[in-house]
């Protein structure tokens, strides 16, 4: 459909006002929220993700596209709830206890939402127990944790331990990232995945949930 293609193209260009306008128009034309979301907004973000992966565009362009996506989503949100449109999955994210750096975590949230996940962002300085409590309560499939300090990254292990203690290892997967984090550290503490950067986090979460990239 032409209007959905236009939404997708304008989103790739980061034209937030135009995306907002066309999303409203698509709603008025009685297109379903699911169509607008999947074939307009998410389709555009998928192109953006691919261009970013191939280094054809860079962070500012991705964020302009994300801003446009959020503008469209704001219009769409009431309809998505009304129509009960399913998401790819629920992900709880946060910066671990003691750490107040949240730029990386915010980028992860933006990328995941752009890919079609429901993101529950607990913010920064999040207690280990709060990650797991929220994931259990909300029925989330994945917990994503970020840390920028070597002194705070140990909180990630506490989250993994709580998941194990509660027997949730098969229900809730963990993905970790941040400047001092390595794949080796993720393996050492028993986290399920390690995301080198925000772009990689989408791939990691999809892989954990068995969703084809």
């Amino acid at each position: 459909m032409e209007i959905l293609k236009n939404i997708s193209n304008l989103l790739v260009k980061g034209e937030d006002e135009e995306v907002l306008k066309l999303t409203s128009e698509a709603i008025q034309n009685n297109l379903s929220a699911e169509e607008i979301l999947n074939d307009g907004l998410i389709a555009g973000m998928n192109i953006v993700g691919e261009l970013f992966r191939k280094h054809e565009i860079f962070l500012p362009e991705v964020l302009l596209a994300a801003k446009a996506m959020y503008a469209g989503m704001e219009q769409l949100k009431p309809l998505l709830i009304k129509e009960g449109v399913p998401t790819l999955g629920k992900v709880v994210i946060g910066t671990v206890h003691g750490d107040l750096h949240d730029l990386g975590k915010n980028l992860v949230g933006i990328m995941l939402k752009g890919a079609g996940f429901e993101v529950i962002d607990l913010g920064k300085n999040v207690l280990p127990k709060d990650f797991v409590d929220t994931a259990e309560k909300e029925g989330a499939n994945v917990i994503g944790m970020s840390a920028l300090l070597t002194t705070t990254m140990s909180a990630m292990k506490e989250v993994v331990n709580i998941i194990e203690e509660r027997g949730l290892k098969n229900k809730i997967k963990t993905v970790i990232g941040g400047a001092p984090i390595t794949a080796e550290y993720a393996a050492e503490i028993g986290a399920d995945s390690y995301a080198f950067d925000a772009g990689k986090s989408v791939y990691c979460v999809k892989q954990l949930l068995g969703i084809s990239a």
Binding site: P60, L63, N106, A179
Partner: protein, 240 residues
């Protein structure tokens, strides 16, 4: 005695090319108009709302030894322990870009203005780094004036959390320097607020004392190339 100084914003505001490099854009890529506009806007906001300040306090080697050893968690072998012992002069320092910038970045993200929030974050981080360069130059010039002009001497800054100096060293550094005077606080995880703040020690001595082989065990996990870049810089620097 501690010295508090305001920093002239024009001296620390990063240029366009540095901002775009920090945003991950390679130098040979043409910057689109809307991206350039974002960079300019972030620079303007930073100029309007930042409140950069710095604090300097000279410290004797013996006293610094106690600060550096901190909570006893440093890497057993690290370059800073060698460098400071061969120094002529040491000074603890703190710089901050102020609370308002961090708050503005947070607000921009909350309002879904990610591109501008991220761009302002880059500007503030780069400005904090430039402030440290400014302090290094200031301390170097002060030392050269005070203690005879040694042409091959330089001052470089080292911070807890880098080069084997454990981040828990912040605790004693804060006790001695008291950066609260310029509005910088430390939490129990040794994290500073405002976030765009840097602390550490300025080490003044012959340029050769700053040269080391980045082959320590912890170097293999470190993604930061700053030490290597600045060693190259001082090696090639015409100090006369």
């Amino acid at each position: 005695m501690a010295e508090i100084l305001d920093i002239e914003i024009k001296k620390i505001i990063p240029g366009r090319s540095d901002i775009f490099k920090d945003q991950g854009i390679p130098a040979d890529v043409d910057i689109k108009e809307n991206i350039a506009h974002l960079g300019d806007k972030a620079q303007r906001i930073f100029q309007q709302i930042s409140n950069p300040r710095m604090l300097l306090k000279e410290i004797e080697k013996e006293t610094f030894k106690n600060v550096f050893e901190g909570e006893g968690k440093n890497e057993h072998y690290n370059p800073v322990m060698e460098i400071y012992q061969n120094a002529d002069k040491l000074s603890l320092f703190a710089v901050t870009m102020g609370e308002t910038v961090s708050r503005e970045i947070e607000e921009l993200f909350k309002a879904n203005d990610f591109p501008l929030g991220s761009m302002l974050d880059s500007v503030a981080s780069l400005a904090a780094e430039k402030s440290v360069r400014l302090l290094e130059n200031k301390f170097e010039n002060q030392c050269k004036e005070k203690y005879a002009n040694k042409e091959e001497h330089v001052a470089l800054g080292y911070s807890p959390g880098y080069c084997g100096w454990h981040i828990s060293g912040q605790k004693k550094l804060f006790e001695y320097l008291n950066p609260f005077e310029i509005g910088v606080k430390l939490n129990e995880s040794y994290l500073m607020t405002p976030l765009k703040s840097v602390t550490g020690v300025l080490i003044y001595g012959h340029k050769n004392i700053h040269l080391f082989d980045a082959g320590y065990e912890f170097c293999s996990f470190c993604r930061d190339q700053t030490c290597i870049e600045r060693m190259k810089k001082i090696q090639s620097r015409n100090l006369s």
